[in-house]
Symmetry: C2
Subunit: 266 residues, 2 copies
Amino acid sequence: MIIVGELINGSRPAIGQAIVRRDAEVIIETARCQVQAGAQLLDINAGTGPDREAEDLVWLVDVVTGALSSVALCIDSPNPAAMKAGLERAGERGALINSITAERKRVETFLPFIQTHSCQVIALCMNEGGIPKEARQRLRIAEDLVETLTAKGLAPGRIFLDPLVCPISVDAQAGRTAMETTRLIKETLPGVRTICGLSNISFGLPQRRLLNRNFLSAMIAAGLDAAILDPTDTGLMANLAATQALLGFDENCMGYIGAAREGTLS
Amino acid sequence: MIIVGELINGSRPAIGQAIVRRDAEVIIETARCQVQAGAQLLDINAGTGPDREAEDLVWLVDVVTGALSSVALCIDSPNPAAMKAGLERAGERGALINSITAERKRVETFLPFIQTHSCQVIALCMNEGGIPKEARQRLRIAEDLVETLTAKGLAPGRIFLDPLVCPISVDAQAGRTAMETTRLIKETLPGVRTICGLSNISFGLPQRRLLNRNFLSAMIAAGLDAAILDPTDTGLMANLAATQALLGFDENCMGYIGAAREGTLS
């Protein structure tokens, strides 16, 4: 299971303020605690306006790469210019692009960066028509995305498909649809991997962490390979350790037993 | 989701002693707290030797039906004589037999009780050869069981198939096999339902409740209709409420929101 830490995001007030004030310490501490908690990659999202985003993203990349010698970055922006600037600054540390969709214009804008860097890419199962309601429709978009990207020279292993997670408070079938889409992708598209952000599932409901951590277990059982999440949520990480053991991904349950000994499962 | 409370089991020391001492209060309290916590059925297992089991099971049935006016019972015994005695004493309250297997002798011994009562039956996916390692082999046994039982007049809706849960400490694939068997049964055998006991999954490992509750979520996502569990485990029941909402079984998340308001989700 690949864990992408989600906490360096300018839409979070502490991070947004740190970006404005160029307070590197807050960013470095947020990066360090996520890596210590088990994140293999860190999502970097400035979340600022189009006029400032490229500059802010470059600053974030500089701060994190300067302080942590080896963690890989997931450059997160809807803005092609900011994405390009952040990715170029990250160099070899820019491991993952978050994200493209099947919208033709978006694919065409982002493809040159993806082709010239060795990075991997998150591709959302949506297109000009928005997010389809049914899992099989999302699978069709996933198939189109993989066909387009592999035709341009990307190996399937560089593609992370995001089945898309909508709130169950809006659509009661949203969780089931995300699980089913994940299962269909893993069955139908060998070699590509799956990723999602968890927390959207619980939008508008109480005790969101309880829903997020159960959703993670169900999504891993459906075939999820990577998740964008808060690795400092100890209940979530305990569930992750338990689920890895339950699914046979944790040889002799050694990871689980080790975590229990270290007292990190409660 | 049908919840069968597992706590009235003579192999638990407090219950074993209460059976020996004919201490009805302990049994009644154990029954009441499970019903209050959400159990629709109570498993009744004397767990005593063959010379005493029928008498002990009848006493347990009398105590529980005398104290609780409506809860249904799951009569749990490997011993045909005890099962017959317990089931006859329970009358209309004897809703479920726990359990038969595909072993021919066992089926032939138990079938007459099942046919003469209106009860439902738990059928384990094992036969004379033991428990198959592969999910597809367990499915074949499930198909045989359903064919045999329906040929004897049982409607599919009276059959609860148990995919069988072995410890992941012994076989790392045991959790995945149980999930896959459940999924195959639900795909292949319309009308029959699935049930399992949870706690065997975590045998031999630390922090068993953490594994049990994550396993419940994954099994429900795979299609589990009923579970034999400890309904007084609040973490487990919180996970159950979250999973029902995540899978779209909880209309407008009203059950989940109500549980959050009542403070039962932590």
